[in-house]
Amino acid sequence: MSEYDVVVVGAGPGGYVAAIRASQLGLKTAIIEKQWLGGVCLNVGCIPSKSLLKNADVAHTLRKRGKEFGFKFDNLELDFSAAVKRSRQVSNRLVKGVGFLMKKNNIDVFMGTAKLTAKDKLVVTDEEGKTEALSAKNIILSTGAHSASIPGVEVDGEKVVSYQEAILQTHQPKSVVIIGAGAIGVEFATVWNSYGTDVTIVEMLPRVVPLEDEEIGIELGKAFNKQGIKTLTNHRVQKVEKTDDGVRVTVSNDSGETVLEAEQALMAIGFRPNSKGLGLEEIGVELDGRGFVKIDDRMATNVPGIWAIGDLTGKLLLAHVASTQGIVCAENIAGAETVTLDYRMMPRATYCHPQVASFGLTEAQAKEEGYEIKVGRFPFQVNGKALGLGESPGFVKIISDVKYGEILGAHLIGPEVSELLPELTLAQNMELTAAEISRNVHAHPTLSEVLMEAAHDVEGHMIHM
């Protein structure tokens, strides 16, 4: 039996990063992965979707804005399968990179399904059914999560699909009903709509991207309307039926039922943890009511020696949060210097068009928590760089505490706003105030000037408005 200091179960962005950090800290480390090195993120999630979204951006410009930019076509042909092929190449390249990183850090990789047989023992079963027993002083669980479905609706991968089939299929549907207006729903809406699919999004809550600040949801809703994406908010899905040539989705709101017909339906209502079948119940690892593994600030579960990170812990289901948890976890195992995480202050990015990025409290949350707040806003409409890019919708909104000037949150919608977040999260992390951001000179012309102006607005003296 091979013995390790640390065995990581699941090689997604949480698991493989935890393994690297553990190995760097001198721990003998192995990682077990049943399907993909790099996990959902690299293979069928964050990465290939960003590649598709770039194609979508170009497609949208050519199809809808050719006249504005001065391109004329007699017969514009869009090959969606080429976009998918490109996304697979991007994905594969990064997956190879993970393999290389494992080798470079002397991490043993076991491809197979893991099951815990004791609190310090695991069995890996590979595709051919061969088993291998490992013993580990510490086990890091990072098995991730899977897409949830509405009770009674079967995801068959053809007519009703999850993000996984949706990202791998080489054609776009002619028409689609997207159930759920979270990050996955709105990103696929953006991709398909750009290629000419008739898109309808159904959302139970009052706005698209319902967990974001209210103003952001309203702004994105407006942009979607303009792009021809139909949004049915405040609508519940009653049933999803398969027909000969697609699906029939019945939705309802206060004024009655509506029937939507489409070639496909995309189920994007959320995620459930992959906590079953690992042997956790037998060992007594504590789960919460929804099946997520409970952890403390160190990423430790209730069973000594068993740790958990990433989507499996249900804190904030984002790749970079999983990676950060992985680093903290490995450092705690090794007894190295580390930090604790404030999940509320983690950056969040959604790559619809226009992009949405945020961290911290929404305006409503801040008020609810009793803060006296100042809100600074600045629109991209008067930003030179945004106008040059032809991307003027959107704005930046900074929420700051009146008493001590602490930045409580920021909400951005507009061009490349995901790239603008780090300045603000660093400021929040180091407890800088809007005053420091507004006095930080930003190059001209850049999109980031909008941050500076929004900070000026918090201080009460915008320059360019």
Binding site: N332, A334, G335, E337, T338, T340, M430, E431, T433
Partner: protein, 449 residues
């Protein structure tokens, strides 16, 4: 062939050493120059490196045992190798046949999240104070030095300040941070403060309750069996030094005060710059250099009493008394202290201080001092009468640096003041010359540029 490990001679006059801790177990692999054991001699702990590659074959001297320098204390060699009999003396043939057992290295798992270590107290660098924390501290009159930082690199975060305030408010015995009469600029100066700000003098209902029930809180010391704490080598050594010193030299102490405005200004200006060079600039280097210059002006202080005369030392080797907490104290020596710039001095002070606290001083680094400074002010002491570190002539005691009201040209000013006490050997110096020397140090500090 197996290589022997011998107890090293840890200094010219040191003839024996105590094995404190074996850092490897028998059978464990070790590389040449890896630390093999810790040895204590007189007051210094030293790590002894392995003389060769291989495994630790046999430990001959168990932990806690004192042996003469030169004694073979262990053998290092290839696994299973035979130890030369005539030299080892002790090992039985059986023990030599033992196969080295693989010792598992324990994975240490800390129970708490471990942020960077940062001690509470004056003698520390607060590091980056965020604007949010600064604002909060100003408003709540919080002394940030009292707060343990849990942020990255020990940074004090807003959360830390709030936690501190919370625990403080729970602790009813804590005095209010700022007394009412110390808050300036509010109300009528000529009315009694109690009448103007009655709420500041209100007792909490809890306190009033307490007053009623038991006007006097008696302390009940628990009766426990008395306990003998065995002397450590360090404790013994300190005791011997102290007794010898007071019984040989007639001690006299003289005290002066110094206005540190110039030094404080200088330090505030250079602190950041030094920090960029990774040098922590404390006040100690200033006292060191001010004393070095004074020693040059008064060479008689840099001396030793001998029966046939007073031995004037040419070299200036400054001792720096460093507290190791309950464990004791140690005096690392800055050799040729007159060769250092302020930055060089700051660097060597930090280095010796850090290594003293971590028990990493080399034996020679605590020998040969010609003058000593003890900074008892770091623990709050105003002034003290320290004992001379023999065979030196004098020791400078530095008190706490405090803002005091002083009279300058018939006006009251607030100045960072310090009491400096010089304890000297009256066989060598008389009061007037000792005062001259101390006044020179004061002058050097007050005119610092």
């Amino acid at each position: 062939m197996a290589t022997k490990v011998v107890m090293p001679q840890l200094g010219e006059s040191v003839v024996e050493g105590t094995v404190m801790k074996w850092l490897r177990q028998e059978g464990e692999a070790i590389e040449e120059f890896d630390s093999l054991l810790e040895v204590e001699s007189a007051k210094v702990n030293t790590e002894i490196p392995s003389p060769a590659d291989g495994v630790l074959l046999k430990i001959l001297v168990p932990e806690g045992t004192t042996v003469n320098a030169g004694t073979i204390i262990a053998w290092v060699g290839e696994p299973g190798e035979v130890i030369p009999m005539e030299e080892s003396g002790e090992p039985s043939p059986q023990s030599m046949m033992e196969k080295p057992s693989k010792k598992e290295t324990e994975t240490t798992t800390s129970q708490d999240v471990r942020p960077a270590e940062q001690k509470v107290g004056r003698d520390r660098d607060l590091g980056f104070i965020s604007p949010v924390v600064a604002k909060l501290a100003r408003e709540k009159h919080v002394d940030l030095y009292q707060i343990n930082g849990t942020g990255q690199g020990g940074r004090i975060t807003k959360k830390d300040v709030l936690n501190f305030l919370e625990t403080k408010s729970q602790d009813s015995t804590t005095e209010p941070e700022v007394a009412a009469w110390e808050t300036p600029g509010e109300g009528d100066l000529f009315r009694p403060t109690e009448l103007q700000f009655p709420d500041r003098f209100k007792k909490s209902s809890q306190e009033e309750q307490k007053d009623k029930i038991s006007p006097q809180v008696l302390s009940h010391a628990a009766i426990k069996e008395d306990k003998l704490v065995p002397h450590s080598n360090m404790r013994r050594s300190i005791a011997a030094h102290m007794v010898k010193s007071v019984s040989t030299a007639p001690h006299v102490t003289t005290v002066m005060e110094a206005d540190l405005s110039a030094v404080v200004r200088h330090r505030a200006f250079y602190k950041e710059k030094y920090a960029q060079e990774n040098v922590r600039l404390t006040f100690t280097p200033y006292f060191m250099l001010a004393s070095v210059a004074a020693l040059k002006a008064y060479p008689m202080v840099n001396s030793s009493w001998q029966e046939d005369g007073i031995l004037l030392r040419k070299a200036i080797h400054m001792g720096m008394a460093t507290s190791l907490g309950e464990e004791g104290l140690i005096v690392p020596v800055i050799k040729h202290a007159d060769n250092y710039s302020l930055m060089g001095m700051a660097r060597v002070v930090n280095d010796l201080g850090d290594r003293a606290k971590n028990h990493q001083l080399k034996p020679d680094e605590v020998l040969g001092g010609t003058f000593t400074i003890t900074n008892h002010g770091t623990s709050g002491s105003l002034f003290a009468t320290p004992i001379i570190n023999q065979p030196q002539c004098a020791i400078l005691g530095v008190g706490i640096i405090k803002k005091r009201a002083v009279v300058i040209q018939d006006a009251i000013a607030i100045r960072p003041m310090v009491y400096l006490s010089l304890t000297f050997d009256h066989r060598i110096l008389d009061g007037a010359s000792a005062d001259g020397f101390l006044a020179e140090i004061v002058k050097n500090l007050e005119t610092w540029t």
